[in-house]
Symmetry: C2
């Protein structure tokens, strides 16, 4: 559970006892293949999971079969923490790539929440950052063009992975297909591919196989109208990691 501690400390502050209590949480490890359901819509799980490895997603489907990926989760994320207090899943949680997850019983988390107010705040806060990410999805889907969404996706997934220590140097892994990305962005695979081609031809990004390279971060962020505050990383991180540090001046 060191990963959980690290995750929470990225956005909240804990003391030594909090850390110890988190590290002592009981858990079970389970591995999933690609595209396996973890919890299905309507279930009432009694465990929360932590992504240790792989990408996980929550998705919904409409009658005509249209799929919408609601949120993508990368290692360190807690995809179903909310079901501590919202028992019934309203959508399905599934792996995208082969994944490893740690399952922590709700009972243990309730105990922790009762005993350690700071941990309660950190966990609550984590669920609220999730909410904030949904708000950003709404902005994307409601008002951004396909090209804007594509650029925003590149910024977001790179930054999230960099913060999690999984990426560096404006390069990262996007271990999912273009069709899945399109399901996330609310467009068709064909159109995603074309939007990508535009950004590529403008020299902003490159996506080869499963690796994404950001070639022109400043201009990419402009196209995306990317503002990282929705990740609530704290003022320091946000500006340092991405916008200021290694970017050519605007």
């Amino acid at each position: 559970m060191g990963m959980l501690q690290a995750k929470l400390e990225r956005t909240s502050s804990l003391d030594e006892e909090d850390r110890a209590a988190i590290r002592e949480l009981p858990y079970t490890i389970r591995r999933f293949g690609a595209r396996e359901d973890i919890f299905r819509s309507g279930e009432k799980p009694t465990y929360c999971c932590l992504v240790l490895d792989g990408w996980v997603h929550r998705y919904g489907t409409l009658g005509d079969g249209a799929r919408q990926i609601l949120l993508l989760y990368i290692p360190g994320d807690l995809p179903d923490l909310q079901h501590l207090f919202l028992p019934q899943l309203d959508h399905t949680l599934a792996s995208i790539t082969a994944s490893t997850l740690a399952f922590v019983p709700h009972t243990a988390l309730f105990g922790l929440i009762g005993r350690r107010p700071r941990v309660m705040a950190a966990l609550w806060r984590d669920t609220l950052i999730d909410t904030s990410m949904y708000r950003e999805r709404v902005m994307c889907l409601g008002r951004r063009s396909a090209i804007g969404r594509t650029a925003h996706f590149a910024c977001e997934m790179y930054l999230r992975q960099e913060v999690a220590g999984l990426a560096d140097d404006l390069r990262c892994t996007i271990p999912i297909t273009q069709g899945q990305i399109a399901d996330f962005l609310g467009i068709t695979p064909v159109h995603f591919n074309r939007s990508l081609a535009v950004l590529r031809s403008r020299g902003l990004i490159e996506l080869n196989g499963r690796t994404l390279s950001i070639l022109e971060p400043r201009r990419l962020m402009d196209v995306a109208e990317f503002d990282a505050t929705f990740l609530h990383l704290g003022d320091d991180l946000t500006s340092l990691l991405f916008s200021e540090c290694r970017l050519p001046a605007a």
Copy 2:
């Protein structure tokens, strides 16, 4: 604060001491005209507000001036409860119609959360229902057509108001302009008007002035692919109030 107690008891259970503690919360009443900002993006409020009267919304804007309403709040809702643990607003909270709000200091809520675990759970749960509503927004904006969004809007706003005791008999008030609804649905006002015309011509709904009438609930819900579980009202309410009770059999 009786309204807060009632709101929380719609989705969570409380005991008598919980209720008393909620009713004793300190608060200040403030009135707003139409379209006044309550908290602006970037602010760090020290009060949470409860909508007593009027409609309130949270919205974002992109560079080209495109507005997206993220969520609409009706009397009884807690639009900024999340800022207890997510200090910085990432969007603006504003009234739509003239509104009356009660402001409760964060300090009082922290005290309540520390002393009354059941109230903590109820409040946390309320923020999670917000999240669930955002997920439904994502499904709407990502995969529903303009007509589907329009139908979904009618179902959602009627049901929420009925549950809050503000509507009945398949008729309710929608006290906002078509332009504002369009900003919520991620389409243009002209196109919303046309979608509305389609639903009207099919005899599903009527929108005259500020009153919405649902003429064919069953068929409207089909068009909307409306599933109320995202409101997490508890099994009883959801099915009773809207789908079963007074609807002609499918």
